[in-house]
Each structure stands twice: as C-alpha cells, then as structure tokens.
C-alpha cells in the first residue's frame, strides 16, 4: 500500500513544519508516507488565471509523480480541490484525462484521510489554548470538508474552540487575486483578521496554508500576536504534550 504525500509548493517552500507534522502524526498509526521528489505545484495559479496550457504542464508533473500511489494526501483543501479540475483540464486528451480521473479518486485532504480512511477522531492531543478555526473556501465548499476538522478538534484535551464570526467568508487570498486586486483583497483580509481578533482566540487554525499565510500576514502587519497554525501542526504538537 503506497500512501504518498503531496506536500504542495507552498508548504514545501514556506511551511515545512506542516508536512513534517503530518508525516510524524500519520506514522504513529503505522502509515509511512512516501514522498515522490518530482512533485511540484498543482498548477492552480495558471489555471485560475486562464493559462491552461501552462497549468497542464504542471498538472502533468503531479499526475506523473503520483501515478503509482494508492492514496495521495495533502495538507491543502485548495490544492486537493485543484486536482478535481484535472479531468476538465485534460478533457480533450483521453489518455491524460483517464490518468487525471484516477488521481482525483485517490486524492485526499489530510483530515479526510485521517477521519474516513484511518477512522481516527481522537489523536490523543492536549492543547490548552483558546483556538478559533477558519474553514477555507475550497476545502469546505468544493471538497465538502466541513465536519472532519470539527470532529478532530472536539477531541483535543484542554482546548477551548471559540466560534469565528462569519467564519465561512473568504479571507481574500484567491491567489493572483491578491496581487491583481490588491485593495479588494486587502479589505477582505482586514475584515477576516478583525473577526479573528473579535473571537479573542490565541490561536487561529486552518487546513490551508495559503489562506493562513494571508491572514497571518495581516495580523502581523497590525502587530497582533495571534498564533497561526495548520491543524496538522496543532494536533502533532498536542500529541507531544499529552
């Protein structure tokens, strides 16, 4: 059984601790992740901007990287969501389209895999802090990952999960949107960070480093000391404290 890690370019380059936490946490259940080093980016920036030829080039790299895998696990609902678009991206290429569909069927966002495949809800973590959760749009709306993180967080000892006002609202990242429409994106992330502050949480947790990078960047810009982390990091750190 080959279970592979799709680290995503952002976590690889900027947030290596997210991948490391995932690998170490899953190893506790005897899941030894494989890491195909040829993997790069899911291609979403090019896809969303309309440059599908360029997106196909990166998508082909990902499809190839995980061709032999039985399960592909990623710490991002957005990049896992991008894989859902691969069949459409290759709709005029039956061979690649078939491969894309196979990758789609075996791709899991981290909490989907933990809850539905491993059947784990209680990882045995302790995290004595006030925490709020931002459900990233692609993971929750497009992949339908809504209850999984909630189920996992409910079991964490000592943790107070406080509601994030208007939690479902987009943080304003949107990839190139944050660059092209910087002021609209800025207004959105400022409002999101306001809501985080309103929740009075010490820690903001989520399932997508892109959104978390965006919100953390705004909190830091305003010198607000809220710790921002991926749920995999929180759970693994919490296991260490148990």
């Amino acid at each position: 059984m080959k279970v592979s890690l799709f680290i995503t370019c952002l976590s690889d380059a900027l947030y290596p601790n997210v991948g490391e936490s995932m690998v170490r946490l899953l190893a506790r259940y005897g899941v030894r992740l494989d890491f195909p080093p040829v993997q790069t980016c899911c291609g979403q920036p090019a896809y969303n901007s309309g440059y599908w030829d360029d997106a196909r080039a990166t998508a082909a790299t990902i499809i190839e990287a995980f061709e032999d895998s039985d399960f592909v696990i990623s710490p991002s609902g957005s990049c896992t969501g991008m894989i859902q678009h691969y069949p459409k991206l290759f709709e005029h290429d039956p061979v690649m389209c078939g491969k894309a569909e196979r990758l789609q069927a075996k791709s899991y966002e981290f909490t989907q895999f933990l809850v539905h495949v491993l059947g784990v809800i209680d990882v045995g973590a302790t995290f004595p802090h006030k925490v709020t959760y931002h459900p990233s749009c692609h993971g929750s709306r497009l992949l339908g990952v809504k209850n999984e993180p909630m189920a996992l967080m409910k079991e964490v000892r000592g943790m107070e999960l406080v509601p994030l006002p208007f939690a479902d609202d987009c943080c304003g990242f949107g990839g190139m949107f944050a660059v092209k429409m910087a002021d609209i994106s800025g207004a959105m992330v400022t409002e999101k960070a306001d809501h985080v502050l309103e929740s009075e949480a010490e820690v903001l947790v989520g399932l997508d480093m892109a959104c978390l990078m965006n919100i953390a960047g705004n909190l830091r810009f305003r010198n607000k000391p809220v710790r921002v982390m991926h749920l995999a990091e929180l759970l693994y750190e919490g296991v260490g404290r148990a």
């Binding site: 380059a13 690998v23 059947g119 949107g174 944050a178 992330v189």
Partner: protein
Amino acid sequence: MSGTAAGTKHATVKQRAGLALNDEFLRKAVKFTTERLRSGKKNTSEEHGNWEQWRERGRQIRLHTIAHLDYYLNLFANNARANGVHVHFAQTDAEAVRIALEIAQRKQAKSVVKSKSMVTEELHLNRALDSIGVEAIETDLGEYIIQLAGETPSHIIIPAIHKNRYQIADLLSAEAGETLAPDTQILAGFVRKKLREKFLEADIGMTGCNFAIAETGSMVLFENEGNARMVTTVPKTQITLMGMERIIPSFEDLEVMATLLPRSATGQKLTVYMSAITGPRRSEDADGPDEMHIIIVDNGRSNQLGDPEFQELLNCIRCGACLNACPVYRHIGGHAYGGTYSGPIGAVLTPALNSNVAEWDDIANASSLCGACYEACPVKIPLHDMLVYLRRRKVESGSGSKLESVGMKGFSAVMGDARRMRSALKLGRFGQKLVVRNGGIRLKLGPLKGWNAYRVAPSLPKRTFRDRWAEVERDVKANGNRLDPAVQARMESIVKRRQQGGGQGHGGHA
C-alpha cells in the same frame, strides 16, 4: 459599451472598486443589508428542512426548460396569443426598445408607470422613453430612489442598497420640496402618496417578468410593495418585457420557484404579492389593461445556448443571493461591476451577453473564486467555474496581458520541474537576505507592493520540506509502528472499489 459607470472615466473594475472602497457610507450600507439578507436566507433555507433537494429540483427544472427552450417559448407565445396578448420577439436591445416605443407612440402615451424590471434596465428603456417625450416613473421604492438620484441599480433586487436612510431622506426631501425626517414610515408615506397620483395618470403600465408559464401563457410577478399590482391593473395598456429565458413549463414548477426565490432573495418564506396574469382584461373582469403586450428579449441570451460552459447562466432566476453571499460585492457594491447586472452573476452575465470577453474579463478578475456564489445559488449555477472559463477565453483569444503571459510561462517552466523549483528557491533564499527583518518582509516594492500594503510577507525558511525529508523519513522508519489490520483491510477495499470504477467521494462527512 452600455451607458452605465463603465462608460465614464473610471474604465476598469479596479478604478471603480477604488471609489467604493473609499466610500465608508456605501460600504457600511451594502454590508448592513447584504448581511441581513444572507442571514435571512440562511435561516429560512435551514427551517425549510429539505433545501438541498429543492435546490436540485429547481436546477433540474431550469436545465430542462433551457434545453428545450425553443419548444417552451413557442408554447408560451401560442398560449399567450390565444389569451389575447400581443407577443413580440426582439433579437437585440435596439429592436426591443423600438417595439416598446412604437406601442407608446401609437397609444399617444405621456406617462408610463413601471414596476421593477432588470431587463428594462439592460435596455436603458427609461432613457429611450424620455427621448420621445414620455415620462417613465419607477414605482418600486428602491428603483424610485435611484431614479431620483439619476443612478442605475447597484443590486438585482435592492437597487438602492448602497444608500443609507439619511441619503434617501435628502433625495426625497428635494423631490417633496420640504424636509422629510429620515424615518422609514415618513419616507415611504411620501412616496406612496406621490406615486398614487402617477398611477392614476399613467397611460401605460410596464413590468418585467419573474416567470412565464408555458402551459397557460401566463406571466408571473413577485413583489413586496403592491406597486406591480397597481401597474398591471390601473393603466389601459400593459407592456411586459422579459428575457427569453424566463420560461418555466407549468404552474407545478412555479411552486418550486416560489419556494426557492423569496427565500434566496430576502429570506422570506413567501413573497408578499405573487400575481399571475393571463391576458388582458376580460369583459367580466373589474380591472386590468384593455391591451397587453409581451416583448420577449434575446439580446445575447441565445449565444449561451449550446455553449457547454455557459448555458447554465440562463438558469438564473435573478434572486440576488450570489450578491449577498459575495465577499467582494460586500466591499465594492454593485456599480463597481460597471454593468446592469452586478455581483458574481453580473461578472459572468455581462461579458456573456455582450460576447466581448476580451473587454470584460476585467470584471471576471474581481473574484477570489471562493465559491460562496455557487453555494448560495438556488439553482446551483457554477459561477466560480465560469469566472475561470472567462479568464481562459480571454487568454485563448490572444488578448491577455503580455506581461502576465510571460510570467505564466516562467511559472510553468519552474513549477513543472522539481529541480528548477529547487534552484529558484535557493535563489530566493539568497535574495531575501537583503529584505528580511525578524523573519518577515515588509518591503512595498515590485510584486510585493500590493501584498505588503496590507500584510507582512513570510520569509523562506533555511530548509524546505524536501531538504528535511531524508531526516524525517529516517526518524519515522525508526519508530516501527504498524498499521492496524482493520485499517489495512479498509484501505485495500477502498483501492479495490476504486479499480472497479467506484470510489468517488471520500466517505461523506464525519
């Protein structure tokens, strides 16, 4: 280009959004009302109990109707004619305007009272009527307000959403010639009295159409103020304008739409008035128009037929739920979109109706693709996907930005190959030494200018995940934990099911 804000000096969505972002009144007013509407929608759809099933039913009705639009349009037109209605087909906006003006001239009309209609906004019919000396008066409160202000609607169902009570009081006071207190009762009272006179004087009543029932030839109006009832009963002549996609097959289907539309639009379980009008006044009727016209407008709609990526646009029932759910709309309001239709539906519909993707993709960029529009849509139109298709069509047509095109080539060259990605990161780690302070980058230059105007950018860590991988792998191997046999069996069965062609979706929700 249509004659709204897009025709003015603020040519791009970015420029128009800039105006809105600096208008605290507007942002507060839009935020206040969209929040009220979307929470109302959330409550009534949850209370309904089977919302998702009804949504799917609504989608199926719309898909079916649009797939057989020629049949249902024909059926509708024949039935409406049998009821004594004059049915006209207009291929373009100019043709629709010409037909309406000819009727007005033949009737020697001096004034037209209108109930709310987005299609007449699309045709700029008020201006056309004015040009032949016919006064057009909007009788929906919100429409009346923006007509006084000389503006266009900034929301599909709440045209004056961008104005607060005080601004409205100022507008109405100017019309009244006396100072009216910014009190809803007083303001609405003034408008009611004023419009009463207009209803009695009007030669023509003009309406839009929420749904046209093919099996009976009836047109159905949803409203909350009763003004559409006045418009369709007092004047001697009625002109109804409708987009060619407003059709549904039967009254049975109307039940589904009457469940979906008010809940999605305003969070109401029922609209206050729902009127189905089947032809002009019959001899035994107490009121109603003696002459009734229905103008069925194409104006770019038929371009979507047979286009697998955009045909579903015609399923839209114009509830405005996508506007209320949209975080971009909330910050920039409707005028920033530059067209008659705003919000996510407008961002797609405007370029689609005008078939000028190259010009309008600008609006398609004003979305973070969060999918809130799709989630809110009562007939499940995948607007977030359509926005991407629009962007792609612009690139494919060769009218994309040259700089961006070069950038994307570079992106795929680096990101399509792990070795090149690694080299790029190495270069980045070296380069960032000049700008990193306390692990963050605050420099407001180049590509970081927009980002760092609102954020601190993270710096690249010393080692990437792949640099750390060998070490992590060694540690993990050493721990020696074994997979639970039951989990192993589950994983094997998942793989097996997948090979047999199943395995879509991952176990539903926890």
